[in-house]
């Protein structure tokens, strides 16, 4: 089973994974951490601490506010100095709790240890929720929700996503090499929760060492490891499911509609540690890279570490930095400040220099069809973008704009430098707003 599985479309940007050989480093304890309460999709967590409270490492700082939400835990021991807001990567203010470290890093009583294979599924599921685990690949969807499919959606396959198709990022790669057992423990816990037998791990073929190690370690747990073709966006949920199982997630549907649940390997490792070590999620592996960075590398940052500290720990910069990106170069968000904290979903901090940030002026479409060929969703971005330019959101909706996964392959390859994916993001927002308005109108009528 070592033929390279793949999906249709996609692009192959320069990989730039310069930090792939740097072992995960542990930063020193910082003076303070700014821990956001909204590190996940859904309602922000509700603080349970007051200004002046003493907290321990791993202690609950904020509790989930509703089902689609997740708790937040303290990254170190110390004192709550302020309940305030901080800048998020989207450029918005989000509620945050500032912890001043006491330098002792005293650990709170861990949660009772569980066995990933033999504990009760409900107990394991409870633990995933209590440990504040969210999707660490980037979407930061609360994992508890993903592991709670409705009863009418049976699940038969758990897929672990070790693809890391974003250029430059190496965090998942290093994690697979350095902590495979936590990933496997997490995978087994998820399998127990979902009651599935079949567990598959997909890794892009540019990480042969990770494929070899995971194959060796996974063999005794009956977890299949598959090598996948190096093609962006191989790690997109729908594309990964198709490559591994041949199943097609229906338009507008979720992986559970084809009996699959996908978990990032980082998430799996966090689940593994939560279950076997009783440790909540307050730190993650993040790649700090880019040509201007003096020492690109992978770090186990605690949540609430400012990008400023992350860059300083990496030796600072040797070049003029024109862009700082939270995430990878294809889907990451460019940020405007260094005072943005690392969150549960910060897979990378990428710095780009002057020579890498060519700014383009869009030309008219020359209908070369590259966006069609590149689109992993089989859409027609060129036609959609013209419809959207003409504000024909109704037409765009009919031409399936809502299926766009925003991977950016269309914009990447467009020789006319048209902002294709940017158009689609706008159209999706307009269509969502329209649908919401229609839904709000219905009950009154």
């Amino acid at each position: 089973m070592f033929n390279q599985l793949h999906f249709y479309g996609g692009v192959h940007p320069a990989e730039g994974k310069v930090a792939h050989a740097s072992p995960i480093a542990t930063p020193p304890i910082l003076e303070s951490y700014t821990v956001p309460c909204a590190q996940h999709i859904g309602a922000p967590a509700q603080p349970v601490v007051q200004k002046g409270d003493k907290v321990l490492k791993g202690q609950l700082l904020a509790k989930p506010n509703g089902f689609v939400s997740a708790p937040v835990h303290s990254p170190t021991s110390g004192e709550v100095v302020e309940l305030t807001t901080c800048l998020g990567p989207m450029g918005n203010q989000i509620p945050a709790i500032i912890i001043k470290s006491d330098g002792e890093d005293k650990v709170a009583e861990p949660m009772p240890l569980l066995d990933p294979a033999n504990s009760a599924p409900d107990e394991l599921k409870q633990r995933v929720g209590d440990a504040g685990i969210v999707g660490m690949g980037g979407a930061s969807f609360p994992t508890l929700v993903k592991l709670s499919p409705p009863p009418n959606k049976p699940i038969d396959t758990l897929i672990l996503n070790g693809v890391e198709c974003e250029p430059c990022l190496t965090a998942d790669h290093r994690l697979m090499l350095e902590n495979p057992d936590a990933i496997l423990a997490g995978a087994r816990a998820c399998a127990t929760i979902l009651g599935v037998k079949k567990v598959m791990l997909g890794i892009e073929a540019n990480k042969p060492d990770a494929v070899a190690l995971m194959t060796e370690r996974a063999a005794k747990f009956d977890i299949e490891v598959h090598q996948l073709k190096v093609r962006y966006p191989q790690g997109a949920e729908k594309q990964l499911i198709y490559a591994l199982t041949g199943r097609v997630v229906p338009s507008g549907g979720l992986p559970m509609d084809v009996k699959c649940v996908v978990q990032n390997v980082g998430t799996a490792a966090a689940i593994g540690e939560a279950v076997t070590l009783g440790k909540p999620l307050y730190e993650r592996v993040t790649t700090v890279t880019g040509t201007p960075v003096v020492n690109p590398g992978n770090w186990r940052f605690r949540v609430g570490t400012f990008y400023r500290e992350a860059i300083r720990l990496s030796g600072g910069v040797k070049d003029d930095v024109r862009k700082i990106i939270s995430g990878g170069p294809m889907m990451g968000l460019s940020v405007c400040s260094l005072d943005i904290p690392v969150m549960k979903n910060t897979s990378g901090i990428l710095l780009l220099s002057e020579s890498e940030i060519v700014q383009y002026e869009p030309h008219p479409c020359i209908r070369c069809g590259r966006c069609n060929d590149n689109c992993p969703m089989g859409m027609m971005p060129g036609i959609l973008s013209e419809q959207i330019e003409n504000m024909r959101y109704d037409l765009a909706e009919e031409w399936h704009v809502m299926d766009c996964i925003e991977c950016g392959c269309c914009s990447f390859g467009c020789p006319a430098h048209r902002p294709l994916v940017q158009h689609m993001k706008r159209a999706k927002a307009v269509v969502v707003a329209k649908r919401k308005a229609a839904a709000a109108k219905k009950p009154k009528a």
Binding site: D320, R367, G408, S411, G413, H417
Partner: protein, 347 residues
């Protein structure tokens, strides 16, 4: 804490220099100018073959047509109060393609007029590059062919020796191989078709269309660069081959052999460089195949039963007109969906 010391040593990014923009932050190096340059490069072998076969005057016509195409575009930009668009290279390409579609005997004013029709009426009046429904070079050629038929069909035999090449332009006219086989069915048996001559372009015709091998080399170059789809020339030439083969099989005395049809006339130029024009042909691979087969059928019908000996230009222009419909009919449906009713009726 020695952070102050570290601050002095470590250079940090300057926040005021940061740019905020939407993803993706990487872009492939491709750009329109580069694509046009590659297509022009791919046309060079055929240009050189044209100069070799028809003399230095062929070069003069090509230069003049390209220069007038660029000038007309600049003028149109000025009149339309647009930014200059000649930098994208499309005017040069259109001018060159038009020149390759002219017989080597055309007077200079025809080159200038043809460039005007191609650039201004074929492209700029629609808004410029990307908005023209028809291939501009073919618009120019067909307008000249219909308006000035005697000038546009005055073909000369190719050069036979270096002596010819150095001497003044040839004044003896000669019908193209297609004209011979088209107009005089009863004499077909007497016409000896030398496939090798057709293959290397040693026959009368337009400047850039006669040399099959040079066009083939350029076409393969473009296919290797993934700038054109191999399906287009294969389906176009294949369709012509099949239809003419059937006709020839049914009545060898009335219809020329399929190989002579494939090798002669503007088929190779059309199949590799005109039916693959990005702006005026379908977006999807499936649509391209439909387009190419349609071109092949129309070309064959015109050549076999039409009143013109050659049908490549007409067929491509007719299929250009159908491109929006082909696009709608062949619109793919996204991963995980079924085609919607709106797409079915081509809304």
């Amino acid at each position: 804490m020695n952070t102050d010391l570290e601050n002095n040593e470590i250079k940090m990014p300057d926040v005021s220099r940061l740019i905020i923009s939407g993803a993706p932050h990487y872009h492939s190096p491709d750009e329109i100018r580069g694509i046009m340059f590659m297509v022009i490069l791919a046309l060079l072998p055929a240009c050189l073959a044209g100069i070799w076969h028809f003399g230095i005057r062929a070069l003069w016509i090509m230069l003049l047509t390209v220069a007038s195409a660029v000038s007309w575009e600049v003028l149109a930009n000025k009149v339309m109060k647009q930014r200059l668009s000649v930098g994208d290279g499309t005017a040069i390409l259109t001018g060159l393609l038009l020149a390759m579609n002219l017989p080597p005997t055309v007077p200079e004013w025809v080159c200038v007029l043809g460039a005007f029709i191609a650039i201004v009426l074929g492209k700029m009046v629609y808004g410029g590059m990307g908005y023209n429904p028809f291939n501009p070079a073919l618009v120019g050629r067909v307008a000249l062919l219909l308006g000035l038929p005697s000038i546009m069909t005055r073909f000369v035999p190719p050069m036979h020796s270096m002596w010819d090449w150095c001497s003044a332009a040839n004044t003896v006219t000669q019908a193209t191989p297609l004209v011979l086989t088209h107009a005089t069915p009863h004499t077909r048996a007497e016409i000896v078709v030398d496939y090798m001559d057709l293959f290397i372009g040693h026959c009368s015709g337009c400047i850039g269309e006669t040399c099959f091998i040079a066009l083939l080399v350029g076409g393969i170059f473009l296919i290797c660069l993934n700038l054109i789809r191999w399906q287009v020339p294969v389906c176009y030439i294949g369709t012509v081959f099949i239809i003419t083969a059937i006709a020839h099989r049914v009545s060898p005395s009335d219809y020329a052999t399929p190989l002579s049809h494939v090798l002669s006339g503007g088929l190779a130029l059309g199949a590799f460089f005109m039916a693959t024009d990005m702006v005026t042909t379908p977006l999807s691979r499936a649509g391209s195949v439909v387009f190419a087969v349609g071109c092949g059928i129309i070309t064959s019908v015109i050549r076999l039963w039409g009143s013109y000996p050659e049908g490549v230009s007409f067929s491509i222009l007719i299929m250009n007109a159908l491109t929006p419909l082909i696009d709608k009919a062949t619109a793919g449906h996204p991963f995980g969906t079924v085609r919607t009713a709106a797409q079915e009726v081509g809304k």
